[in-house]
Symmetry: C2
Subunit: 133 residues, 2 copies
Amino acid sequence: MYEHPLRNIIKACDRAILAKDFDSLMEHYADDAALVVKPGMIVKGKDNIRSAFISISDYFQDQLVVKQGDIQIIEGGGDALVIMESQLFYPDEQGATTEITRRATYVFRLENDRWLCTIDNSYGTSVLDAEST
Amino acid sequence: MYEHPLRNIIKACDRAILAKDFDSLMEHYADDAALVVKPGMIVKGKDNIRSAFISISDYFQDQLVVKQGDIQIIEGGGDALVIMESQLFYPDEQGATTEITRRATYVFRLENDRWLCTIDNSYGTSVLDAEST
């Protein structure tokens, strides 16, 4: 069965985040990529994206669990739009588990036969909610 | 006040659709762009996208009204992810007006100082709903 190469790249990114292997993670990003850290807060460039991932990892202290759900990949003009459902689980202040479901939107660009992430927006279309507040 | 050039391009596309000027519309698409006609149905290439827009226009018989709402543009790695709220109004079979709000996701690529649409997905993250049915 054909599996889009981006599925494996996204799995590799998840594994790299879990292993805190940010060097491997950054190999999948374009030099001037953008990461939506939270709605209204965007960082650009590999160094800043790497720092943001380290901060997020430290914040959750290894207690963030991510499960990937449905995924759709739409390719056109050398770009790919990845739409993916993710479930996030993490402990709240009372020690109970908080569960959030997100629909992320990622943009990848095919350069020299390699897919590189240009825009990492795990908030999907909900970035519009932040703008209107 | 700075206005991102993509805002004007999207307005120009809306005007072209309204005027059925599909030649002008197609100037804003990459040659091998992808259009999500409906969830699960994607057409590729300018000729097919042009045909799809003509079919959609004929189907609604000039009775489709589109109002654009909030918009966010996230640029990275030479791509731009546009997230935009649209309200669609059209008459149903009983003559009443149906209103639908969508959050669209469009990908544009900057080539030779021109923004070209590579992926036109007006269904946003709701394409995942179709996949799971």
